[in-house]
């Protein structure tokens, strides 16, 4: 028989009754040979369709994971049909400005936009040969990011935060202020919310609305009270649209994904239900590969105009950076912005810990012709000096500040200045890269010039003693 016809006939076949339901998993016996990861439609008693995917298939039984949850399904009356192809998302540029659920169905009351293409949501690995190495500096207007952990277009740079820390504010600020110097480009934001609270989603929508970019944003919301299984598919739908916008429409897409910890927890839930052998803290052994499937869907391609920059947010359980979720993320992403509770308590915003934060793509996107010639050395010197400040502070807490040597006192002063005038800024303050770098020199000028080993003599001659020109502060 013709293969396509056979496939069509089989996909129309509906099995009445399932053999086992456990959490989000449905077990169907005696089916025709079902393909791995095929799309499944589950029809409940009332005729509502829920989507799912095949997770395990064998001659006897197919295991289906139902994204909209299994509550309300019963064994005899549930009808299941296998679609013969992996789950796809219909994508179009018109999805910008709309709100969807995790599966890409509208949840703002409007009709589904007419898709121009249907794409497999699982994505395919990008051939490393086809990648374009990201080098374009994105100015976020936030000193600690621009100066020390520079964001590059096409990068995946997560925010490692904790509960109660202002990661949403920072993500929103980056979204509002991000621009590439000297370019006015077609940009879009894709926002994926996994298991976050309603007010968090509200906060982002308001913030997009205020800055007038809402019609450039597509939201995929799977909130805290939606079935947890839906979170598995949410980032995949979002990234599928992002890929379409970037590589078919030539747009520069910023993808904000929050909160990755909730995503990983859903993954653990399903893995446990399937009785898989756990690795660390009960998370499945494939957590790394699974996260990589998401994070690696970013970057630039040779010969394409668009790009995907990822800004995933994850809350570290108990502020522990060695927890499997931040740990594995850090091994995949190109750096990380780490929040520190102590800085937040001292009223500093953004509370970005200077030392553990890192941007791996920074080295190729800064310096002459991109930011300013002194930037690489300046950043390295700031890191070195600030790291020494931490040592001095520890010492001071033991022997008292009075006992410090004069040089160490200068370092303490530098540390204070650096935190208050360089790192600290308002949530609506947009600093130019020049201002950021000048502020860095201003702080370094509190140290004796011979302490600055990582900058050159010429740079010291030119910038040592700089006082940053500030834009008039509000209220003055």
């Amino acid at each position: 028989m013709d293969k396509d016809l056979k496939k069509r006939l089989l996909s129309a076949r509906e099995y009445v009754g399932v053999d086992q339901i456990e959490g989000p998993l449905v077990f169907v016996k005696n089916t025709h040979p079902v393909g791995y990861r095929e799309l499944v439609e589950c029809r409940d008693r009332k005729g509502n369709i829920r989507l799912g995917t095949v997770m395990d298939t064998s001659a006897d039984v197919a295991v289906v994971q139902v994204f909209e949850g299994t509550s309300g399904l019963n064994m005899p009356e549930t009808r299941v049909s296998f679609k013969g192809e992996p789950q796809t998302l219909g994508v179009t540029k018109k999805m910008l400005g709309r709100v969807f659920n995790g599966l890409g169905q509208p949840r703002d009351g409007g009709a589904a936009p007419r898709a121009v293409r249907h794409i497999d949501v699982n994505g395919r690995p990008v051939n490393p040969v086809a990648r374009e190495y990201p080098r374009d500096f994105i100015q976020t207007g936030i000193s600690v990011i621009d100066g020390m952990n520079t964001l590059i277009r096409g990068q995946k740079l997560p925010i490692f935060s904790g509960n109660g820390l202002p990661h949403n504010e920072l993500a929103a600020q980056i979204t509002r202020q991000a621009k590439v110097k000297g370019q006015d480009t077609d940009f879009a934001v894709v926002f994926a919310a996994m298991g976050v609270k309603h007010d968090v989603a509200r906060y982002f929508i308001d913030s997009f609305e205020k800055s007038g970019v809402l019609e450039k944003v597509a939201l995929f919301l799977s909130l805290a009270d939606d079935p947890s299984i839906e979170r598995i598919i949410t980032p995949r739908s979002a990234l599928t649209l992002a890929e379409h916008l970037a590589f078919d429409e030539g747009m520069h897409v910023l993808v904000v994904m929050t909160d990755m910890s909730n995503y990983c927890e859903s993954l653990r839930e399903i893995s446990t239900l399937r009785g898989e052998i756990p690795s660390r803290k009960g998370y499945p052994g494939y957590l790394y590969s699974d996260l990589a499937e998401l994070y690696e869907r970013s970057g630039m391609l040779k010969g394409f105009k668009g790009s995907i920059t990822q800004l995933p947010i994850l809350t570290m359980p108990n502020d522990d950076i060695s927890h499997p979720i931040p740990d594995l993320s850090g091994y995949i992403t190109e750096g990380q912005i780490v929040f520190e509770r102590d800085m937040h308590a001292r009223g500093l915003y953004p509370p970005v810990a200077g030392l553990p934060s890192l941007s791996r793509l920074m080295k190729d996107g800064i310096g002459e012709g991109m930011t300013r010639a002194d930037h690489p050395h300046l950043a390295s010197q700031l890191f070195a000096a600030y790291s020494y400040v931490k040592d001095v502070r520890n010492l001071a807490s033991v022997i008292g500040e009075e006992e410090l040597t004069p040089l160490d006192h200068q370092y303490m002063e530098f540390g204070e200045h650096f935190e208050k005038k360089f790192i600290n800024q308002r949530a609506d303050e947009d600093r130019s890269i020049e201002e950021t770098l000048d502020r860095g020199w201003e702080a370094l000028s509190l140290l004796p010039a011979e302490e600055l080993h990582r900058v050159t003599e010429d740079e010291i001659d030119e910038y040592y003693g700089t006082v940053a020109v500030r834009k008039p502060e509000a209220g003055l």
């Binding site: 791995y36 690995p125 086809a130 052998i277 052994g285 010492l395 033991v398």
Partner: protein
């Protein structure tokens, strides 16, 4: 198609497939699944059933699909054309996949690991009537400007030459040599310039040799403090962001091996792109040619199928052994072996095997040992000398070195470069910590340094390490009572160590002069710092204060010498040394 149907699919669980109706499948046989012909390998046989790991995405594979056998173990193709190519974990050239399927890698693509159409200039070294056996070099081909590819008789073949192609251009398809087999009744052996070898089987050699030549990497902290020998093994463990990949890249660029095999195993796609962009533009200091002319890349990024990640390590080392057999020194970078171990764990979990520590299979240590034992300094079958050095990155979860992969790796390597989070946070690169790290090759390679570079090498090295150890203890006191409580003589130890760290250990990978240092430059730099230590110490004993020593103008020049004195201008160290002596003399004169 005259393919053999080896069985049918019974169950699909991610990359692991259970097959039934198996009769003649071989263990480790390469097979093809379904009508898309996804590449896989048989990893377990039991009665009529088999377990197969598939190296491509299994979406859409259904029970009942046919499985086709190849009759051969999973192998790599070896021959001219490997150098400069980027492969995936099962030796599919990524360029050719790109031509077939574009930016994204599709499934079931056909491939030829080596270019079959390209003509190579062939120069025979043997003649009709000669008797040749396994590993003998029969001809040469100029593979790149700097690498002469030596065509060998594949292991296990021998006989009298019936005919050999004369000098000229040939493709890999053409027979270039016909042997009269020594085994009766087997007929003639026809050979081309390429040969196949199963990836899980080490290639044979004549003998192992002692490891007494260092692999000079150009990285000062490595060559001077924790040296690696040619043919040696080393592990680089470090949490994320401590610079494993940066260190691996630096070694791949500047070490004095003839051939580099770089395996990106389960790491970032952009990192491989970075190598692809950067290496062709960098010039190798010893030959003046592009670095790409000695490099082979294997990229199995983290989002590519997990089982191919497992195979990529073996693909890489088999290629390395092939060049070793030609008489080359090969260095292989595996970044990261933890991803390979995790791939083993994932596949083991899917096969529902009983786990040992942290879910890793019980055979993990055996696999690690097998891999590292394939390194060595060998006498090849043709009597040449060649080596394979393995530099394996390890990514311990949470940066905790007590986890199984780091611990087991430690048992089978003889050199350990532990990356330190504190150093990385202070952007002190390379962040190789001097307290955790060690090298067992030290005594073996000291004679080389003493003969070739300077007779005082081992002694100088010992002295600076001792100072670093003392400094750690002193720093603990400083942490409790502050530096003022120490006498000048002890504060001077801290001072010298600070200079040593800034001027010597720290190395800027992006600076044109500092990115690598020759053995001689390293030796001279160390000597100057020790001169400062020895004479400064003496001066302090005679009453010179530490502040005076610290304020010497020449000290700034010492700290910046790594950036100002190029590798080919080592004579400028004489002047610096003289200047330091004069400054110290002046100080000494004041205090008499």
């Amino acid at each position: 198609m005259n393919e053999r149907i080896a069985g049918t699919v019974k169950r699909v669980n991610g990359p692991v497939i259970e097959a039934s109706r198996i009769d003649d499948a071989l263990m480790m046989e390469m097979i093809f699944v379904g009508e898309q012909r996804l590449v896989g390998e048989v990893i377990k046989l039991k009665g009529e059933e088999a377990v197969i790991q598939v190296y491509e995405d299994t979406t859409g594979v259904a029970p009942g699909d046919n499985i086709y056998g190849s009759g051969e173990a999973l192998s790599v193709s070896l021959g001219p054309g490997l150098i400069g190519t980027i492969y995936d974990g099962i030796q599919r050239p990524l360029e050719s996949l790109f031509d077939q399927s574009g930016e994204f890698i599709e499934k079931g693509l056909s491939f030829q690991a080596l270019d079959q159409e390209k003509k190579w200039d062939f120069t025979p070294l043997v003649k009709k009537g000669d008797f040749v056996s396994s590993g003998d070099i029969i001809a040469t081909v100029q593979e790149t400007q700097r690498i002469e590819h030596r065509i060998m008789v594949p292991p296990g073949r021998e006989g009298q030459i019936k005919s050999i192609a004369c000098e000229g251009s040939y493709t890999l398809r053409e027979t270039i040599l016909t042997l009269d087999s020594t085994v009766p009744g087997t007929g003639d052996i026809e050979l081309t310039m390429a040969q196949n070898w199963p990836i899980r089987k080490p290639r044979p050699t004549a003998d192992r040799r002692p490891l007494n030549i260092p692999l000079i990497t150009g990285q000062r902290v490595i060559d001077t403090l924790f040296p690696l020998a040619k043919g040696g093994t080393v592990a680089i463990p470090g949490g994320f962001g401590t610079g494993k990949t940066m260190t691996q890249h630096a070694i791949a660029k500047w070490c004095d091996a003839d051939i580099i095999v770089y395996i990106g195993c389960g790491e970032r796609g952009n990192e491989m792109t970075d190598v692809l962009n950067e290496f062709p533009e960098l010039i190798d200091p010893s030959t003046g040619r592009s670095l790409m002319e000695r490099t082979i890349l294997i990229a199995n990024t983290s989002n590519m199928p997990v089982s191919a990640r497992e195979a990529s390590i073996y693909t890489g080392i088999t290629i390395a052994e092939y060049y070793r057999d030609q008489g080359y020194h090969v260095a292989i970078m595996a970044d990261s072996t933890s991803r390979w171990a995790e791939a083993l764990r994932e596949l083991s979990g899917r096969m529902e095997e009983m786990p040992a520590e942290e879910g890793f299979p019980a055979y993990l240590p055996t696999r690690i040992a097998e891999f590292y034992e394939r390194a060595g300094y060998m006498e090849t079958l043709s009597g040449k000398e060649g080596s394979v050095s393995i530099i394996g990155a390890v990514s311990p979860p949470g940066g905790d070195f007590s986890e199984p992969v780091t611990q087991h790796t430690r048992r089978f390597v003889r050199c350990f470069w532990g990356l330190d989070r504190q150093l990385a946070n202070a952007r002190h690169y390379p962040a190789i910590g001097w307290l955790d790290s060690y090298s067992e090759y030290l005594n073996d390679i000291s004679p080389w340094w003493e003969e070739r570079v300077g007779p005082a090498w081992a002694e100088d090295r010992r002295e600076i390490l001792e100072l670093l150890q003392k400094e750690v203890r002193l720093q603990q006191i400083v942490k409790l009572v502050g530096p003022d409580a120490l006498p000048d003589s002890q504060r001077f130890i801290i001072e010298v160590c600070t200079v040593f760290k800034n001027a010597f250990l720290q190395q800027n990978a992006f600076d044109d002069i500092d990115r690598y240092s020759t053995a001689e430059k390293q030796m001279r730099m160390l000597a100057i710092i020790l001169l400062y230590w020895r004479r400064g110490n003496e001066a302090i004993r005679r009453g010179v204060t530490i502040v005076k020593l610290r304020r010497m103008k020449v000290l700034q020049e010492i700290i910046k010498m790594k950036l100002t004195i190029a590798n080919d201008k080592v004579e400028r160290f004489d002047r610096l040394e003289a200047k330091l002596e004069r400054s110290l003399d002046r100080l000494g004169a004041i205090y008499g």
